[in-house]
């Protein structure tokens, strides 16, 4: 059941240049899963639309969510100034999220091996996914890509997965992108889950070949609930809503099977 609610900030910290880690107590936490997102509202009357931010974590007591985001404009800049105890308006929980059940059976019979690929600000949602897959008994490999050695969240992946890192400048792990790291480490997998910049997702769609790759897409959004048709992606099959091969990223997605979308 979606709702607009008022959450309360538990804590916030800057964990890398321009990257913030925000924990919010909210009733939305009860329904929140990996791959889904919430719309966060600013306190600035000139910036009215909710900012879609993916869920990086859900507390074990299901009472709070964790959002790790990058300051990209006046909206997110305002979020970065939120302090413990501040109220923040949220719309959620939005989006389909990853299908843990389907991923658990990706190994067809034998134990399923899932490869998580995250790039830049696409990394946060992968952490909650690693946690949920690990809890489901899936063997998880995580490969996270950063620009340089100023990483974030990296160490937290180790609790749930075999963790690898790629950096563009080679200052840490494999020099190059996440796929370079996958090849370099000869990582085996039955399915891929990925979130990151479009060029990375295109390369992963290509790389996955016969195997399933579930990618999380981004687009400018307005309503966030599937009404305005602002955020769409071309699909191979006729979409169930408009029947024009345009799926709604906010509602039919943001997670899509790579072969189903034209990116």
């Amino acid at each position: 059941m979606k709702a607009k609610v008022t959450g309360k900030v538990i804590s916030q910290s800057c964990i890398a240049p321009g990257i913030y880690d925000l924990k919010i107590e909210t009733s939305l936490a009860g329904d929140a899963h990996a791959g889904q997102f919430v719309g966060v509202f600013t306190k600035d009357a000139s910036a009215l639309l909710p900012r879609p931010i993916s869920i990086c974590g859900v507390s074990d007591d299901k009472k709070s969510i964790r959002l790790v985001y990058r300051v990209a404009g006046k909206g997110t800049d305002g979020f970065s100034k939120l302090d413990e105890g501040d109220e923040v308006s949220l719309l959620g929980v939005l989006g389909n999220g990853y299908d843990i059940e389907k991923l658990s059976s990706a190994g067809n019979g034998s134990g399923s091996k899932v490869l998580l690929l995250g790039g830049g600000i696409g990394i946060p949602p992968m952490l909650e996914l690693a946690k949920e897959l690990h809890a489901a008994g899936v063997s998880v490999s995580s490969v996270m890509g950063y620009r340089d050695e100023r990483t974030f969240l990296l160490d937290e992946f180790t609790a749930f997965s075999d963790t690898y890192v790629a950096t563009e400048d080679g200052s840490l792990g494999t020099k190059g992108n996440v796929l370079d790291a996958v090849r370099e480490n000869g990582i085996e997998f039955d399915a891929i889950c990925a979130c990151g910049p479009l060029p990375m997702l295109r390369a992963i769609k290509e790389f996955a070949g016969e195997k399933k790759a579930y990618i999380s897409l981004e687009e400018r959004m307005a309503c966030g609930v599937g009404a305005c048709l602002g955020c769409v992606v071309k699909t191979k099959e006729v979409d169930h809503h408009s029947h024009v091969n345009n799926a709604r990223i906010c509602t039919d997605g943001p997670v899509f099977e790579a072969s189903e979308v034209e990116i």
Partner: protein, 301 residues
């Protein structure tokens, strides 16, 4: 006993609050947030004779106090609409206004005829003013003669009351209102979005793939109130007012300007409960000012 009912072209609405076409789908998405039974009417997303894919992305962007959109009227076409959306709406005790879009007079007429026998449809709203569709549709809304002509042709092919939705991107809104009236329109609704543009100066490109988009939100409210005032004083048919409405007080302002009913548009995105809060806000205003019948305040300034 407070009376919030208003009547337009023989159709009585339990209250004057609807939502703006294109901001509410066919009600499905927002039925998770609001009880559709509490709305005066549900105005559906524009539907054409055949499915429309709409424009490339990005289709939306934020501007100061509002947003720009260039969706391009993506819609599944009239058949899917009748098979899926109308049955859904049949479950609710509210009026249904179907917004109709097209690229030619024939397109509009085809949809109007198809809906004539659908009992669940109370009124048609003709979108001749979408700023994001290239093919002529905009001319229907900005040329007095085109508007009168398309109005009379649609009226000739449907038994349903017809609302002509006017664009604000004109020199003289009163003239357009009169053209719709002389074409036989049962009512007019305004304003549609105001054409705007945003440029991403860091990337040196337009914020929208369509370059221009329709502006909506609180930022355009003063223009909308002015046009509702001018249009409602130029014609005898009822006016449905819209443009940045967020609260009951906003709704009251539009009604004092001359609107018989109002629509909540972009603000649904900011507050999914905006429609029912408008209904409540109107009732609060009536109580505060001892108004027994909401019709008393229509055009009272």
């Amino acid at each position: 006993m407070m009376k919030t009912e208003v009547t337009i072209a023989g159709v009585t609405f339990k209250n004057p609050v609807m939502e703006g076409s294109g901001t509410f789908g066919s009600g499905m998405e927002y039925s998770e947030f609001v009880d559709l039974n509490k709305l005066g009417a549900v105005v559906t997303k524009g539907v054409a004779n055949v499915p429309w894919p709409g424009n490339p992305t990005p289709r939306v962007c934020e501007v100061y106090g509002g947003m720009l959109n260039a969706i391009g009227l993506q819609n599944p076409g009239i058949e899917v609409f009748c098979e899926r959306d109308l049955p859904f709406l049949s479950k609710y005790d509210t009026k249904v206004i179907v917004n109709v879009c097209g690229r030619s007079v024939e397109d509009y007429v085809e949809v109007a005829e198809r809906l004539s026998d659908e009992d669940r449809v109370d009124m048609l709203e003709i979108n001749v003013s979408c700023p994001n569709v290239k093919e002529g549709a905009i001319a229907f809304g900005t040329d007095r003669n085109c508007l009168e002509n398309i109005t009379s042709q649609i009226k000739a092919h449907t038994k349903k009351p017809v609302i002509m939705k006017l664009t604000p991107n004109v020199t003289n809104i009163a003239e357009m209102a009169m053209a719709a009236e002389s074409g036989g329109a049962d009512a007019i609704s305004l304003i549609n979005t105001i054409t705007g543009m945003k440029i991403d100066i860091e990337r040196r490109r337009f914020a929208l793939a369509n370059k221009t988009g329709g502006m909506s939100g609180p930022a355009i409210k003063p223009v909308a109130v002015r046009m509702v005032y001018q249009a409602s004083h130029a014609v005898k048919i009822p006016v449905i007012g819209m443009g940045g409405i967020a609260t009951g007080d906003d709704a009251i302002e539009f009604m004092m300007a001359g609107a018989t009913a109002v629509s909540v548009g972009m603000m649904n995105f900011v507050n999914p409960y905006a429609t029912i809060e408008c209904v409540k806000g109107i009732e609060d205003y009536m109580t505060r000012h001892g108004i027994e019948d909401i019709n008393e305040i229509i055009g009272c300034v």
